[in-house]
Amino acid sequence: MAKNNSNLEPNRNHVPTETNSSSLKGTLIFTMSIGLFIVLSWSAIFFLFLNRM
């Protein structure tokens, strides 16, 4: 019984890691898109402010 359990453990650990790496790709794209939107809109307003000084 103990032998069977120890054989199963590595498989359980291995499978979720692969799932995580593939699911984070979309998160990365959307995080970076929102980040770029924030940076670009902040910069646009900041340069408008500087031009009007």
Binding site: N20, L24, L28, M32, G35, I38, W42, F46, M53
Partner: protein
């Protein structure tokens, strides 16, 4: 703690952006003196005309190129209603309201702030081009709100 490679990327991006924004904010506030239009300078809103500098509304010359404009906003005009400065002048606007909330807005400049009763609201602008500049109220202040305006003549 294990961090995924992507997590490291967006955490670096997020923290980096925060550092840049706060640095720009800090430098413009402490090195260049940028400040909010109303910063703790107060006046009694019941007796605006009895207190300096609003006992003498109008333009006061501070040095060769700098002027201070003391302006009272009220429904539905500004006092004085017209000021004239030479081109290249820097004008410090000190504005308060004797009744309700107004605003002091010069379109296409950074001068755009609320005028709140009891506070002395300030902004500074250097007029590098001659012409007639319109000043508007953009806070709804009553039935005559759309008539509320004054002009700044910048002459050669």
């Amino acid at each position: 703690m294990h961090l995924h490679r992507y997590e490291k990327i967006w955490l670096t991006f997020g923290i980096g952006s925060l550092v840049i924004f706060l640095t720009v904010l800090g430098v413009s506030a402490f090195a260049f003196g940028q400040q909010p239009p109303s910063h703790m300078a107060k006046v009694d809103p019941q007796n605006v005309r009895d207190a300096a500098p609003f006992d003498e509304p109008g333009l006061r010359q501070i040095n060769e190129t700098t002027y201070q404009a003391n302006i009272i906003a009220m429904a539905f005009t500004y006092q004085p209603n017209k000021i004239e400065v030479p081109v290249g002048s820097t004008v410090r606007f000190h504005v308060t309201s004797s009744d309700v909330v107004h605003s002091f807005t010069i379109p296409n400049t950074n001068v755009n702030f609320m005028v709140t009763p009891g506070h002395i609201n300030m902004a500074e602008h250097t007029f590098t081009e001659a012409g007639s500049y319109l000043v508007l109220c953009n806070e709804y202040c009553g039935t005559g709100h759309h008539y509320m305006q004054m002009t700044i003549e910048v002459v050669e």
